[in-house]
Symmetry: D2
Subunit: 311 residues, 4 copies
């Protein structure tokens, strides 16, 4: 496909996304997040050959939030192995909202999966004795090919002062023997990771590395093992969009992870990574522009995992 034709499809998708913005709202449960400009929208694509396509606010910095759950999970899987991680946290979609305590208590052995807060806090507790926050920031820079990633101190402080619910979850995990390391340290590490500033372009780079099965095509270097990448893409597909994951998989069919900072990380296997930034969120906490934008791309470019172009 010619570059011109591609750009015209991307612009069509971008317009679909922009139309949806007024129907959403920026996150306000953390005051600092409420300062985002609701009308921002950025779309960045990085192909498996390292080529970039950017439209809109693709260099604006915003906090990565829940997308960091993917990065922490990757590091834990690489460092500790599959069985050790999944002894503490499940792999099942939960049908519950991202911050629910109920399902943790009903299913008492372990959190349903590493994408809900209870699961991500558990992963954080596993990493705590092994890595400093600085090392984890370096790892994030490496997988995003973005050396400028750093903590957003204002957001971090704001989150730390509205952390009661996550703290409740973390102590519940301790009471069940799931968190065995320092609870407050795990909470802080988790919150710091959520407060890293990225761009739509950083996310498209990370998505591209997941698309290649873990290799940076610009250097030929393996960044993440193939097994870890396969696990992560599967969990993004089944659990990446909170309690809207199933519908997103059916209608869009692109493994995607969202964050309440407005970011979306998408992977079209063996083809491209996609990064989106749009802080206007739908009622499930996902970037509201994302669904129509990515659905348009999926349909026009044949990106659905089970409905790819077959010619």
């Amino acid at each position: 496909m010619e570059k011109e034709k591609i750009m015209s499809i991307l612009e069509g998708a971008f317009d679909k996304g922009r139309e949806a913005i007024p129907g959403g709202a920026v996150a306000t449960y953390i005051p600092e997040l409420g300062k985002a400009d609701k009308n921002n929208l950025g779309l960045s694509i990085c192909t498996k050959y390292g080529e970039h396509y950017n439209i809109g606010d693709t260099t604006t910095r915003f906090t990565i939030q829940s997308i960091s759950k993917i990065i922490s999970l990757a590091l834990a899987l690489e460092h500790m192995g599959v069985e050790k991680v999944f002894a503490k946290v499940g792999m099942e979609p939960s049908g519950e909202a991202f911050n629910s305590l109920v399902e943790l208590d009903l299913n008492s052995n372990k959190p349903f999966n590493p994408m809900i807060n209870s699961g991500a806090l558990t992963v954080s507790s596993l990493l705590l004795p092994e890595f400093t926050f600085e090392q984890m920031t370096d790892y994030t820079r490496k997988v995003c090919l973005d050396p400028e990633i750093a903590i957003n101190e204002a957001v971090f402080q704001s989150e730390m002062s509205h952390i009661s619910r996550n703290r409740a979850i973390a102590y519940l995990l301790e009471s069940k023997g799931i968190i065995e390391t320092d609870v407050e340290g795990s909470l802080e590490l988790y919150t710091k990771m959520c407060s890293l500033n990225v761009t739509a372009e950083s996310l498209s780079n990370f998505g591209m590395i997941l698309a290649t099965g873990g290799i940076n095509p610009k250097t030929g270097e393996r960044v993440i093992s193939g097994r870890t990448v396969a696990i992560i893409k599967t969990i993004m597909l089944t659990c990446g969009m909170y309690d809207g994951s199933g519908e997103f998989a059916v209608r869009v069919g692109i493994p995607t992870k969202s964050g309440v900072g407005g970011g979306l990380l998408s992977v079209v296997d063996d083809r491209m990574g996609i990064g989106v930034y749009g802080p206007s969120l739908d009622e499930k906490g996902n970037c509201i522009a994302g669904r129509p934008l990515l659905q348009h791309l999926s349909e026009e470019l044949g990106l659905h995992i089970f409905n790819r172009s077959r010619f």
Copy 2:
């Protein structure tokens, strides 16, 4: 790959499956199902070019059970369209066991997805005014390329006399305005569909048609629309193995639907359909031989949806 090499991998997988059989048990909640021979095991593969590989009990008849949920969903999607069906039933994995009432009541608008009993009963109620059971049997024969599929009367009668829980679910659906057609008729249609006798080979044929995106390669005829097939494969991946779906997707990565009769229907997109028969079940109600058998195939042949052979 040479045929000899392939057969040797299939036999390795078959052996892994056989080793797991003693750890399971045949379903006994319906007496007639309890009569199955626990040691039966069949593996049938049909490539997208229509070529068959069979090992073990691939022509033994057994009841299709929950795998019929896929066929009913396909027919409903084809006949009524996506939006009409999903107005009545969701697309979200539930984290609940296959016969749970709890989640229906907590999430009061509609059943989580069409693979749990409440969702499948809802689909059945949509089909009831449009199709006779005979027409649905014909459709099953067509998608399975198996003209000998017919009802197992003994199992059907046995199920009808142990149907209290499904009847409870169905009336609850009526009380919520989700089932709007005849409740007893919907229950009977659902139960009859579960009682159809298939073979591992029938299932591999059906899987092959899903793998091609809906086309029978032997005739070039389109059997199911591409859109319906994409939806079905997605839902098999996210919801096909009851509350073990997420782990199965991570570890095996092949969209699969199980039935308590011992059947497994698997699809390796663009490559093959796989049918398994093994009535010894694990505690979630899935064929216990299936996991090790399919995981072996997935690893040896590179069939994981996100970890395919890349050469």
Copy 3:
């Protein structure tokens, strides 16, 4: 206390009740119930010496609804004994609304108590092989000292055509082995008992017999055993007002059972029975006039179970 003084307190209570009527609404989930006159209000008191005090619509007939759960429980306890009944149904308040299925499923052994629908259907299934509906009607006439009690056919038919939820509950009970007799028969018997026509005065008579510990003071005849009466009064106190039972016990302190037909049956132990009729209901399904009316009586006459007049 002089009769004049008493009447003035009763009139004060009646006025408090009347003021609350506009804030409620008649039940409409069963069309026939929706025909009641929202502004009706009747208060009937029968002392342990058989003396009556009546204000307002005390002879208007209305359906007994859930208050029949008390009568069926009494008959079951008398006929089968405490242990046999409570082997099938618990004695614990549930914190759930009257028609919830959730708690039945989470606490899988038996319904929480005989005042929620699942528990009452269970009691009905125990009575089914032992008593005809005619015999149970006679028993109701006897405990209410009202030979004119009879079924309201229009309400009964209306309820039978909106019975999906109760039918769901009943089949769920069968699937768990809790209902072991005919499900449809149990449902019909339960619904017929709910459709009996009573008056506020009938209820005050029944309340008076509970207040005396089971004796009709007019004849000296024992109508119910002391043990059964003690159990019933306790369960009325802990479970009689649906999920508002605890607050009612604290604030009013008079064991009371409500029905969505607008009736209230109250017992002031060793002093009097109280019957109220007011079809305007609050959002929990209790007669909205009842709380202020009975709270006024409780405070003015010292009727709170733990705050009685001590002189």
Copy 4:
């Protein structure tokens, strides 16, 4: 009744209690509690005329645990009034175990009642800015007529190091805006109150004061207001024995509050207070000797709230 006759009944009850001891076990979730002597048993009765009857280990000190919830609730009601307290915590029995988080999350406005941990922590948070622990200890001494009540430091320290679950509950309450004061301070105050050392005799004194409606008959002094006492007795009856409260009310009919230290506080209205100490607990966390012991007393002396001696 002659004193001799009474003592013989008490001894009969005591023997019934002793027989039940081997079927239970001391609490071990807090190591320090596990040091109690399982075979200890004490029964102390204080009549409304101030007369004492003691059998067994009635002067052994043990920690008051959940019985302190009653004392804190009394103080909060006296100091802040009914409406302010119940704006933060409900009055409904929950059907849940004492330390459940689930019901708090499903019923999101406030804890079901002040006897479950979430409710008691809420009451503690209301008291925190108003009272020091020393003042609350003094209040406890006053209502128990026991100037020697003091904190058990070993138990307090042991509980503080196993407090994750309560901490989780407390932060969840903060996240919902229910706890508005210092969370850690509320937790510590609550835990200190649970760690107060009492005796069976202290509890019988407190029970006696509740039985009189709040007056110390030895001095004629009003210790607690009549309204507060009525509320407390009602809540003891409906919620005092965890998820066994309903059955205890039916079978024993004496408002009672238990603590995992082995204590029971019972009130026979207008007649007596009863204190029991027996650290062997049943599976719901109640003194296992208590049920048979108190049921025997209830039956022999006519103490059931709805089945009193009527001569």
